[in-house]
Amino acid sequence: MPCEIITLQLGQCGNQIGFEFWKKLCLEHGVNPEGQLESFAKEGVDRKDVFFYQADDEHYIPRAVLLDLEPRVINTILTSRYSKLYNPENVYLSQDGGGAGNNWAAGYGRGTGLHEEIFDIIDREAEGSDSLEGFVLCHSIAGGTGSGLGSYLLEKLTDRFPKKLIQTYSVFPNQDEISDVVVQPYNSLLTLRRLTQSADCVVVLDNTALNRIAVDRLHIENPSFAQINSLVSTIMSVSTATLRYPSYMNNDLIGLISPLIPTPRLHFLMTGYTPLSSEQEATSIRKTTVLDVMRRLLQPKNMMVSTAHDRNAQQRYISILNIIQGEVDPGQVHKSLQRIRERKLANFITWSPASIQVALSRKSPYIQTPHRVSGLMLANHTNISSLFKNALKQYDKLRKREAFLDQFRREEIFAENLNELDESRDVVQDLVEEYEAATKSDYLQWGLNKLTQGQ
């Protein structure tokens, strides 16, 4: 069946969230850790072939490629219950195991050497699908492998598969804690450039917000990676639900993201999820309605992106897609939309028609949840630029002091000069400006002027 999607997991973070994602998919589709279909699972309800393929003995194998430059996380996966799930040929571990040392330039530089081996795997996977729709890249933008090697891959994928969509799930670093990776601002900025220029859609997973949600909403004092990643895997699985449970619309990646992204650069999406609750709370959940879900999705506290709340800047939604799962009366959807408009709960752009799209998706019949209705929001909001502004600010602070640049200069890309950093800063600055322009009603004219001047 068409519309296959290949998942690329890069680096520690990418492999961790990827691992959680596949665990979740297996549960939802009734596939056991060895890839066998559970006896209770029936065919026809769901579409497994978007993310899995079947081996000769009919067991399911994820269309996943696992890449890392250091062995720790991948080894954990390969010694887990799910070790037999993956195609061992799709797991690539750098032979020297040295890692990228949290250095973007090192990760990027390693790409050239590993190019052939990595693309052997990707090409084989791509050929194995009937009509590949695109790639999903899981990575973090702050480290070395996910950001550096990820950036390299993004560029090369665009060249090699110009007609395939590239979506990324990019983890942004936690700004509330001081990172032990001192060059994080450099890494982030350099990766942001590739995310802007080479990706078609970036789902921003902001560790700051995820941690805050874990602490404030789920009452976990020191959230572990596993706990945070379970949030992430929920987001990833629900945002792909419409691809896996076919219905009237949004059945492929392009159908999902094209209405969300008006112009190619404005492709950074925020997510929100409800109900968020810890296990203890789950028992006392009240009756949830579609309106409840849609209203809560518009509350900043449920957003998985921490954005400075700036009322003066007139930040706006460019587009919203709510994926709602559970027992829903279709008649309620319109009423909820009406209520939201009446109360002006969502502030939309004024330069184009825009609305809250609502997709009703089936839930996995194999997983019991205490909630009647749950919802995920994918939103394109101009306020995402505050993340980029923050990245610029961090970068500028470091750059002003010329700090920690030595380890970058050691790599080939920075051997002659630091132009790459300056160019990346320009790209991100442009992105921020474009998002700001999108808050105003003359965005169309702004674009025409800017692009004409740019000639």
């Binding site: 579409r47 619309m249 319109h334 009603s441």
Partner: protein, 733 residues
């Protein structure tokens, strides 16, 4: 006419008669006038009357051609009057006799005649009684004087003797006349069957208990065959009705598929007045149920409790049919109806899995199975671009087959997949496959009663409309994807096309928004909402007709909300016009892409020849300027079309207007259009309605209009372009 008063007047006048016995003579009566003894005449008249009572002319009394009676004897006026009065009975008798002798077919009419016979027997007996009394008086006593001393039968006496039987016969004559008016006046129509029963039934509500009981007993006789027919129908679903007397009729030529809908119907005229329409419908439904089970579901085992019902029907007196106080029969009918209806529903819903089929229609013909539809669309692209004469059913079916095999449709039940097929609607040679292609569903067997051919045709139409919308979505997705590629391209090689792309992107976005919201609307507000109520109604349905009705409502709701009913032609045309701009945009971008690609290649070749490159660049930049203008115009036109569409949408005033407003609400959720067009920010007024018909003078708009075959010939010539009415967007600081 009161007998007591007559009697009185007779006694008063009799002396007068005796005194002037010759004063009244009929013409040409002289020859018979030997008998001038008034009592003798009276006796003769009595004797004659007995003949008259049996429809035979007497010596002195006979019936004229015009059916009136004349008395040939010389008799006093009161006697004559009295005699003539009594002649009425003969008249009644004649009527009844005539009716009886008239040949007529029909079991009910036969039993009516039988009932009349029974009455007449009684009548003859009474006549015989009277006759014997008369004979006693004439033959047993030779002398008139003697006889006088005896109790003589006078006219008055005779009148008293026949009082009872006379009133009965009068009623019977009335009934007969009511049933067969031609006897008396113009030949209209002889009543028969159920109609006849109704006529008699009228008299069962008569205030006179004698008449009432007469009518009841007659009706009991008459309805016997009706009762048998009814029993047969209820028990076996068979119509034993050779003379078309029953109130349920069948069409022998009816096709098997139409059994439920058109084979049986109620003959309104034959419906006896004592059976209400509602009851008749229940009776009709019961037999239909039995026939449906036997002929369509091959289940001829009968139904549970039939023996009991049969027993009830056999034991219940016929009067139950029209005597309301007894519920035995109607309870039995109700029971038969319930049992058979439940059986039919069971066969349909459980055995034939009606709900599964409806679900399949929703999934495949109403595009619910998105992965399958999308892949089918992809596979059919090439085939459907062909003109209608070049379309071949077998090609389409083969493609359908591969779409099924590659998608989740493969897990569908075999029975459902077997029924799924493609169909080419009727289309002109100019049209392409897109205009005429649709999926089809072969609904034979029991489910065909709900999913009749007409119903499937409606599904076909719905499919075609939704399919076209889906195609537009696919085109827009492809354009969007191209844009992302071009964008990456443009960044490095050709920055000057940036402004064109920017405008194109925003236009694509607007159109994507439009098409997606339209589809969301059709999916939620039309299909899913209607589906919910369909499921509720089917689950609470108590018979097949209710299921059929629920499904018809479901379909018509979706049709109307999807702008497919006749009243929404204008909206549908406007919608298609908006889709038309998508095709225009697609054409434009295809050309633009080619041009840009060519330019890239030529630049690569001319890298080193600086002079030519400059010339080339200038030429190209001219093209880009032109292209930019073209996109701008496309943008304006498409927005104008959307404005118009929204205005007409807001102005809809039929029962579904609230639902249609959901569509306009979705299309303009952030009030982008409303803020730009004064007409949309007010509720509909006469002015805005009028303005919605004004024309746009731009040539491109007109070309799209003509290509869409819109007939706006009556547009006002002084109409301003819509864009004139738009407010300038508010500048923000």
């Amino acid at each position: 006419m009161s007998y007591s008063s007559l009697h009185k007047s007779f006694t008063v006048n009799s002396t007068f008669v005796n005194g002037n016995r010759r004063s009244v003579t009929g013409g040409g009566l002289q020859s018979f006038a030997i008998l001038d003894n008034s009592s003798f005449i009276e006796r003769e008249l009595v004797r004659d009357l007995l003949f008259i009572f049996q429809g035979i002319d007497g010596k002195f009394i006979r019936q004229k051609k015009d059916k009136s009676y004349e008395i040939l004897a010389e008799a006093s006026a009161p006697i004559r009057e009295l005699a003539l009065k009594l002649c009425e009975l003969g008249h009644c008798y004649n009527k009844i006799k005539l009716f009886k002798e008239k040949p007529s077919a029909g079991t009910i009419i036969q039993s009516f005649k039988h009932g009349l016979d029974l009455e007449l027997h009684e009548y003859y007996r009474i006549l015989a009684d009277i006759k014997s009394q008369i004979q006693e008086s004439t033959f047993d006593t030779p002398l008139a004087e003697e006889s006088k001393s005896r109790e003589d039968i006078t006219l008055i006496k005779l009148g008293i003797c026949i009082t009872d039987v006379r009133s009965r016969l009068e009623i019977l004559a009335c009934v007969v006349e009511a049933c067969s008016p031609e006897i008396s006046t113009t030949p209209v129509h002889q009543k028969y069957g159920g109609e006849l029963c109704s006529s008699i039934h009228l008299y069962t509500e008569h205030g006179d208990p004698v008449i009432k009981s007469l009518a009841v007993s007659l009706l009991t006789t008459v309805t016997k065959p009706l009762y048998l027919m009814l029993g047969h129908w209820i028990l076996y679903g068979e119509l034993e009705d050779p003379c078309n007397e029953f109130f349920i009729a069948s069409d022998k030529d009816c096709r098997k598929e139409d059994l439920w809908h058109s084979k049986y119907h109620i003959r309104g005229k034959m419906l006896p007045s004592f059976i209400s329409m509602k009851q008749a419908e229940i009776i009709l439904a019961t037999g239909k149920n039995i026939n449906f089970l036997r002929d369509i579901c091959n289940n001829s085992t009968g139904y549970e409790g039939r023996a009991e019902i049969k027993k009830t029907i056999e034991e219940t007196p016929v009067e139950c049919l029209f005597m309301e106080n007894d519920k035995l029969l109607s309870n039995a009918i109700q029971k038969a109806y319930r049992t058979t209806s439940d059986m039919v529903l069971k066969v349909l819903i459980q055995d034939s899995r009606l709900i599964d089929h409806l679900n399949a229609l929703k999934k495949y013909l109403l595009l619910g199975q998105g992965d399958f539809i999308q892949y089918l669309l992809e596979l059919l692209q090439k085939e459907l671009a062909k003109p209608v004469p070049k379309l071949y059913q077998h090609n389409l079916s083969a493609i359908l087959e591969s779409a099924i095999r590659a998608t989740n449709a493969q897990f569908e039940d075999d029975d459902i997949l077997r029924r799924l097929d493609t169909r080419i609607l009727y289309g002109s040679e100019k049209e392409t496959g897109w205009d005429v292609f649709c999926l089809d569903y072969k609904a034979n067997g029991p489910i065909g009663t709900v999913l009749t051919e007409d119903v499937i045709v409606k599904y076909n139409q719905l499919f075609n409309t939704l399919w076209r919308t889906k195609r537009i979505e696919a085109i827009l997705c492809a354009l969007w994807k191209n844009q992302t590629t071009l964008f990456k391209y443009q960044r490095s090689i050709m920055p000057e096309i940036g402004p064109v792309l920017h405008q194109v992107q925003l236009l694509i976005q607007e159109l994507i928004h439009f098409v997606h919201q339209t589809q969301y609307y059709i999916m939620f507000e039309a299909t899913e909402c209607a589906w919910d109520s369909l499921m509720v109604n089917v689950n609470k349905a108590t018979d097949l007709d209710e299921v059929i009705k629920a499904h018809e409502e479901f379909l018509s709701t979706i049709m109307s909300r999807s702008l497919l009913d006749i009243g929404k032609r204008e909206l549908l045309n406007q919608l298609r016009a908006i889709f038309g701009t998508v095709h225009k945009l697609n054409d434009f971008l295809t050309a633009f892409d080619e041009r840009v690609t060519a330019e890239v290649i030529s630049r690569r070749n001319l890298k080193n020849q600086i002079n030519e490159t400059v010339a080339q660049k200038n030429f190209f930049s001219e093209y880009v300027t032109q292209a930019k203008a073209e996109v701008e115009q496309l943008h304006t036109v498409s927005q104008d079309l959307v404005y118009r569409f929204l205005i007409v949408l807001n102005g809809q005033q039929d029962s579904d207007s609230i639902t249609l407003q959901c569509l306009s609400f979705r299309l303009d959720f952030n009030e982008y259009y409303a803020q730009r067009d004064a007409r949309l920010s007010f509720p509909l007024t006469y002015l805005s309605r009028r303005l919605s018909f004004t024309s746009v003078n731009s040539p491109l708009y007109q070309s799209i209009h003509t290509s869409m075959n819109l007939s706006h010939s009556a547009v006002e010539s002084n109409g301003l372009p819509v864009s004139f009415l738009r407010q300038q967007p508010i500048q923000e600081n």
